[in-house]
Every structure is written in C-alpha cells, then in structure tokens.
C-alpha cells in the first residue's frame, strides 16, 4: 500500500559527487543559521536566501535549491560570521558545478564561458582590442630587464569604457611616481575569476594554468592589480597551481608609496568622500585602511563614513559572477548602498573595484535622489596627484 511520505530518498552518487566537489568543506556546518540571518538577500528579497538549507543539502547529498545557487555574490558576510569557519561562498561555487555537469539552470552563462575560451575575456570582446583603451599612452610591453612591476589591467578595465578610465588613471599615477612598469597588452591573460565564481572549477583551473604560463614566459615576478577580483584569485588560488609571482592590489601599492612619501597631492578643494568597502578587498583581504589612508592623504578630504562600513560593508551585488546574471528591480543591493552613501553627507562615493563602480553608478541613476559621482580611489588620486 503506497503511502505519501515526506522522506527524501538520498542519492549516494550525488552525495559522493558533492563531497568531491566541495572537498568536504560543508562538513563542519552545524546548521546554526547565522549565515542565512546575515546574508544581504534577507533584506533584498522576498523569502531571502536560505544558505543554511543549501549547506544542509550539501551535507546529506540532496539538492533541491538549484536556482537559488546563483544568488550568491561572494560577499563573504556569511563566511565572516560563520562560527565553524565554513568557506560558504566556496561551497556554493563548487555546487554550481553540478549545474554545469547536468546542464540545467544555466541561463545565458555558457556564452560567458565560450567567450573566455575563444576571446580570453568573459565580455565577448575581441582579443585584439585588449589594449585599445591605452591608445596614445605609449605603454611599454612588460620587459623583465627594464620593468620592476607589471601593471595587470584585467578584462573589465580593458574593455568596459567606464572602467577604462580607471586604467588610464592608474597609468597616470604610476608614471607620476616614476614607476618602471609595463603591461602585457593583447597577451594579457584573463585571470579567470568570473569562471571560478560561476562555478566551473575545471575550466578556471585551465585558464589559470594558461595565465601562469604566460606570466612565466614574460618572467613576471611582481604585479600591481587593478581589480580586487583578479587580485583575489592571484593571491588565493594561483599559488596552489604553481604561481610564484607576487601580486598587490593598487590601493595597497599606493598606500605604501604614500607612507614612503613618494606621492604628493595638490588640492585646494574641500572634498567630502564616503568610501564603500568592496567585499573582496575588505572582508576578503582585510584591506580597510589602505584605501582610507590614501584618501585622507589628499588635503581637503573629509571622510564621511556611511552605514555598514568596513567588516559590515554591504555588497554592491556584482560579485559571484552576478554581473552576468539578471537581478530584478527592488532586489539590488546597490540601490540600498547608494541611499546609504547619500545619507553619509558626502558629495563623492569612492570605492576601489571596477565592478562596484558599475553597480553603484547604475543604482545611482535609478534610485531617486542626489547624483553623487562614483569614483575609484585611483581616479581620485589621479586627479590630485602632483609631479614628484
């Protein structure tokens, strides 16, 4: 006699698959739910995002919540609060590979991967145009015998017109301080971060190995990186794959130069600036002070903290591969963030990540209220840097 039952039949094969994909990282979770309570989706979305359920499912080898896997923007709020140290966003990223394997719920994401494969960037832009942003700048190609540092631009700053301004500002600043640096130009490999966050671990590894080969061929030992996203994979993932180069985010780099007295600023204006901590730079790498030090080194700058800063910074919504996924209106973290920026009393919203800039500028346009300019710290430095 068949009876209705709420019991789930567990699939041993799936359980094993998940264990392998996550390297057992979900095991320590004891279902306290802090992750779910603190996840920004709880504010942004009806029903929030039950991270806890996904972790539980991962532990027992069940997977119902396939669609919500895409919600995670890798903001690391959950990881920062998890009492068991579970690398939650990594677990979610690994679980995304189940979708790739089964070819379900992939939206338009295969085209992003194909773009990375054929074009060396996830943005469907021509590889031969990777250095077009630098037209007229006469940038030297990195030569280990002449250059101390590689300036690593990344795909977003190479191709996104708004982000290209950051790249140009970086060049201006590095030249102003007399740094001997080069770029890789059209040979610059994509770091693969987008692919990693979108959950295709094996393809990420392939891209990373290719990138490492290119860096080795150019004999790169040290690089300054514009995007925290690229910086993160170079620091956290590339060493396990054999990379030996050192990478520094440009804000850390500039902070050191300022401390060493190698940058002078010229400014007569009063600037009230509020600084938004990018998730990766902040919670990911603890770099809260460097960007603030840089801003405060400019005469006339007054920092106006906004709500939820530093460890509590609210994600802009652009991480975790979400730049390639659609977020319905009213559910965008950035919308809330710009309100917080407006309430800080500042007249400029500063940040240090090209994806944050894209998301925050978007929200600034959409949400009624004062239009604060959104600027990268590098752009602000570029504006006020004097010749040394």
């Amino acid at each position: 006699m068949a009876e209705e039952s709420n019991a789930i039949t567990l699939d041993e094969g799936l359980w094993l698959e998940i264990l392998e994909l996550t390297h057992g990282a979900a095991t320590p979770c004891f279902q306290c739910g802090v992750c779910t309570a603190i996840c920004p989706w709880g504010e942004a979305r009806e029903g929030g995002f039950s991270v806890r359920t996904i972790l539980r499912d991962a532990q027992i080898g069940n997977l119902d919540e396939l669609e919500t896997l895409w919600l995670c923007s890798s903001c690391l709020q959950c990881e920062a609060s998890c009492p068991r140290g579970v690398p939650v966003s990594e677990v979610l990223g690994s679980l995304r590979y189940l979708l790739w394997r089964r070819r379900v719920n992939l939206h338009a994401l295969p085209s992003v991967l194909w773009s990375s494969y054929w074009n060396n960037n996830p943005l469907s832009q021509p590889p031969s145009a990777r250095l077009d942003w630098a037209a007229g700048l006469d940038l030297p190609i990195f030569d280990p015998t002449q250059h101390d540092w590689l300036l690593y631009i990344g795909c977003t700053a190479s191709y996104d017109r708004r982000a290209q301004d950051i790249a140009r500002a970086a060049v201006k600043v590095l030249r102003a301080v007399g740094l001997q640096f080069g770029v890789l130009g059209v040979e610059e490999p994509c770091c693969g971060e987008t692919i990693l966050r979108l959950g295709h671990g094996p393809f990420f590894e392939e891209l990373a190995r290719k990138a490492i080969n290119t860096f080795d061929a150019f004999e790169v030992e040290r690089m300054v990186v514009l995007s925290p996203h690229c910086f993160d994979v170079f620091k956290q993932h590339y060493p396990q794959l054999g990379a030996e180069f050192e990478s520094t985010h440009i804000t850390q780099f500039l902070d050191r130069l300022i401390t060493a007295g190698r940058i002078q600023f010229v400014n007569g204006e009063r600037l009230k600036i509020t600084y938004h901590d990018p998730c990766i730079l902040g919670r990911g790498h603890g770099a809260y002070d460097a960007p603030r030090n840089i801003l405060q080194a400019i005469p006339g700058v007054e920092l106006c903290p906004m709500d939820l800063e530093r460890e509590d910074s609210l994600c802009c919504g652009g991480g975790g591969g979400r730049m390639f996924l659609e977020t319905p209106p009213g559910e965008r973290f950035g919308d809330l963030r710009v309100q917080q920026a407006r309430q800080s009393g500042a007249s400029i919203l500063a940040t240090a990540c090209p994806l944050c800039i894209a998301c925050l500028e978007d929200s600034m346009k959409v949400v009624m209220g004062d239009r604060l300019p959104v600027m990268d710290v590098v752009e602000i430095v570029g504006r006020y840097v004097g010749q040394v």
Binding site: W100, R101, R103, L106, A108, P110, S111, L113, W114, Y117, W118, P126, P127, S128, A129, H200, P202, F203
Partner: protein
Amino acid sequence: MSKRHIVVCMKVTPKPEEILVDPATMLIQREQARSEINPPDMNAIELALQLKDQSDARLSIISMGPPFFEPYLRVGLAMGADALYLLSDRTFAGADTLATTYVLAKAVDRLGDVDVVICGEESSDGATGQVPPGLAEWLGWPLVSLAIKAELNRSGTQIIVTRDSHGRAEVKSSLPAVLSVKSAANQPRFMDFDLKEEAFEQVPLIVWGPDDLDTEPDQVGLKGSPTVVTGLREAEVRERRRQRLEGPIDDVVHQLIEILDPYLRTP
C-alpha cells in the same frame, strides 16, 4: 532501430576583425589572425547534440581544412560528438563552394550510413550560405534550412524540423536529409570537462585525403572551382563614425532618413 548517424559539418574561421590582406599578393593573411569555430557551426553542433540526446544516435564531425583545424574540431568532441574526420590535402585548398561541397559530400558518402547532415547557416568568412544547399544537391537529399529545432519521428524515417524564415513553420522531411541551423538559434552547450581529456588526448583524428574519398582531381580545390578571384582589398575598418547631426529637429530627422534609407529596404 539501429543507432542513427548524425554528421555535422564544421569550419574553422579566422576572427573577422583580425583579417588582413597582403596587398602585394592579394591573398588573405590567415596566419596572423586568431581562429575560432565558425560561430553558426556551434549552433549546428548544439542542434545535433540535442538530436543525439533525444534518440539513440552517434555524432561525427567532418571538416575540410588544413591540419591546424584539429584543436578546434576537438572542441566539438568535448561538447559530445563521437568521431572526428578531417578532410585534408594540399589539392583541396583554394576551393570555392562547389569544390568544397563536393569533398564534404564524398565524405558523407564514404561514411555510408548517415541519416542527417547538419550545417551552420553560413560561415563568418564567406557568409554565402551555399554549403547546405550545395551539399544537399551533391547528395541528392532534401534540404531544410534555418532549423531551430529538430526531432526524429519514432521510427527514425523522418525528421520534423521547426524552422524560422520570416515566421515559424514545422516541416517534415524524409531521411536522409540535410539541415542548416539558423545562426544564434540556440545556446551552444559548453564543453563537458568530464569528456574533455578523452576528446583532446584519446579520440583519434581520422584524416581523409583524395584516395580515401575517391575524389576526381579536377573537381577539388582550385581546379574544381568555377569561380576565380580577380581582385581583393581590405574594406575600411568599421569604427563607429561618431558623427553628430546638428540643427533644428525637423532637419535632423530628414538627414537621418536619408542616411537610413539604404538600410531600410525590407526583403
């Protein structure tokens, strides 16, 4: 019902924005340009894989080209194809569509048990769209072009194709048949990394030349091409003009209509 045999024709094309012409020799300089699988052929492989998913079928890729095509064609294997045939010989080079479709048809003929051949709508270099009908003609098979979906009937004797030519239609065709797939009609699945190693390291590349295909020397390559190129030059690079149309709005819209007129003619 025995296993169906589906064949996909693939071409490797240079990235259009990287093509240069040597003004001295009037030859296309392909070597400097990065290559990719002809994007419409990706849609073709995807349709073929969808057919393979729904029926008991195996999928072979055929391609006429030089040896450097190999790593690109293996991408098709990593997507789920089973076998790979490169139709390659010096004498095949310089072929126009007549000579190309001849060689492709000879390969299908040699395979012997093919139920359906699937091609991309056109290629990003020549963009002539002639391969599908030309191939169908050599084989003496019906053609259904601009397919967006296809399904074999239960007995595998017919194929039902949804096509999109200024409106959707469902067309039934006897088998064997040739299909062309409408560009961007589907989303090509990404490579299956569980298959990738085998696809790139283990599946043999079968190369067929004139002897294997039993081709007539005067029907392949340059010799077999009725059309000849008598002139070649680079077109101006298409940067956006960034021109502003100024003046009172009524003048501006008239100027605009003049500019748009050649583009506005409907088929």
